[in-house]
């Protein structure tokens, strides 16, 4: 991965307990099935051109959620741009693997599997599995299995996105905004009541 830096970001906004549990279970099951050191789901923030750690199991579980990194390069970036899954090995001793992101997550993997999270035609993010068990590496069957999990994760991510949209629609104005809106509605009503016929 060639991502150069990880910027700290607040915990994901608008997440609720059910959505978080759903995503967390996806990464935990992915980690268990592949016998991996870690598994993560990244949400794509298209406007910012960034990927955001949305759920993490294993290494980095306690502190990575909410962190962001550029989605324009690296293996995760290629997965987002191409919509294709990818499996790479031999990373740990390889200078070609830019450790900017990996080191900032306090874990540099030797092997990485990444699959796009797609719903319909929409790219939602990436599912990554770091250091799967040796028998799970570089095999076409494992790529299929990863794709199956990615499908599940995409559905979960879609639930998160929908819930956020709903929450935003419900709470579109802050208390001051709502007070102002109420005042405007009352004023309009008074105007209508007093206006000449």
């Amino acid at each position: 991965m060639t991502e150069n830096s990880v910027q700290s970001a607040p915990a994901p906004e608008g997440g609720d307990q059910l959505s978080d549990e759903l995503l967390q279970s996806v990464v935990e099951v992915a980690r268990a099935i592949f016998g991996a050191q870690a598994s993560s789901v990244f949400l794509l923030d298209e406007e910012a051109g960034e990927l955001v750690f949305q759920a993490v199991a294993g290494r980095g579980e306690g502190f990575l959620v909410g962190r962001r990194f550029p989605a324009s390069g690296g293996i995760a970036g290629w997965v987002v741009a191409s919509g294709e899954a990818m499996v790479v090995d031999d990373l740990a001793d390889n200078p070609a693997f830019d450790r900017g992101l990996a080191e900032s997550t306090q874990y540099v993997p030797d092997s990485l599997m990444a699959a796009p999270l797609v719903h319909g035609e929409r790219m939602l993010g990436v599912l990554e599995v770091l250091d799967p068990a040796v028998q799970s590496r570089s095999s076409l069957n494992e790529l299929d299995l990863l794709a199956l999990f990615a499908k599940q994760a995409a559905a979960a991510l879609r639930v998160v996105a929908d819930r956020r949209r709903l929450a935003a629609a419900r709470g579109g104005l802050d208390p001051d905004g709502r007070q102002t809106a109420l005042y405007l509605v009352e004023s309009l009503q008074r105007l209508l009541e007093t206006a000449p016929a």
Binding site: V80, A81, V88, N94, V118, E121, S139, L140
Partner: protein
């Protein structure tokens, strides 16, 4: 189920070969008894230009060697797309990996790159189309596309473009998607589509698939590929099966420069490891 409904059923989508050995997939063909030696024996790809439509190619990578031209699709100030020469190299390593396999297979071919990925996280369908259109109109003899799009709104434009390439004599070698989903342009008959098989012993062994749309299976599992920084990694996927076939196309065309795309596909078919030309013509 009636015979009619059976006939209407589409065959299952095959995009890779993992459950059978080449010996279990025999294809008896009519046609001349040509094989690899006739098709590309002694050829190195000289005088054939191969264009890698991907994330860019790292210059002077030991497994890639000279890159004769590097271009990129970029957004213009007014929101359009244009193709510009670039020194930017490779955004992630994927294009370099493909270029390395082409170079290994056809060591004397001319290598060119047009970068359609890596600039932005979205909008890649338009960039892919723009890059492919440019490559077709440059007249590259072989175009490697280890990429596809699932977006159906691009299908008709892509189909017209691959037809244009076919009639202009540019061979598009396109990866099937890594997962069993419909994507394009590998689904079109005008391109040479490639999926993976899991045999690792012979890096040049490829098969014809008697159940298209994926027409050929080439090594795609645990492949040693060029990567950024002049290094290599091992990777898995149809992306790395495709450039082997692109490289073989370059060798075939360097030996038989007047071949049309349909003749080239026939030569690949008759030279596949599991195809045995039977009668040599009608009986």
């Amino acid at each position: 189920m009636t015979a009619t409904t059976q006939a209407r059923e589409r065959p299952a989508l095959t995009w890779r070969l993992v459950d059978r050995t080449p010996a279990e997939l025999p294809v008896v063909a009519d046609g001349e008894r040509i094989g690899p030696e006739w098709a590309w024996g002694g050829a190195t790809g000289r005088s054939v230009r191969v264009c890698i439509v991907d994330s860019g190619v790292e210059r002077d990578h030991p497994l890639v060697g000279p890159v004769d031209g590097s271009w990129a699709v970029v957004k213009t100030a007014v929101g359009g797309l244009e193709i510009v020469e670039t020194e930017a190299g490779d955004a992630c390593g994927h294009g370099t990996a493909c270029a390395g396999i082409v170079r290994r297979t056809a060591p004397d071919c001319g290598l060119h790159s047009v970068r359609v990925l890596g600039e932005h996280a979205s909008g890649t369908g338009e960039m892919l189309l723009a890059g492919l259109r440019w490559a077709v109109r440059q007249g590259f003899e072989v175009i490697n596309m280890s990429l596809s799009t699932t977006r159906v709104r691009f299908v008709e434009e892509l189909r017209a473009l691959t037809d244009e390439a076919y009639f202009r004599g540019s061979v598009i070698v396109a990866s099937a998607h890594n997962t069993p989903v419909e994507s394009f342009p590998w689904r079109f008959a005008s391109v040479i589509s490639v999926g993976s098989h899991h045999e690792e012993a012979d890096p040049e062994m490829y098969l014809y698939n008697p159940l298209p749309p994926v027409e050929f299976f080439a090594p795609g599992q645990n492949v040693q590929v060029a990567w950024l920084g002049g290094r290599t990694i091992r990777s898995t996927g149809n992306s790395f099966a495709t450039p082997l076939i692109a490289g073989l196309c370059a060798r075939i065309l360097s030996k038989h420069p007047r071949m049309t795309p349909f003749q080239l596909k026939n030569a690949l078919y008759l030279s596949a490891a599991n195809v045995r030309a039977g009668t040599g013509g009608a009986q």
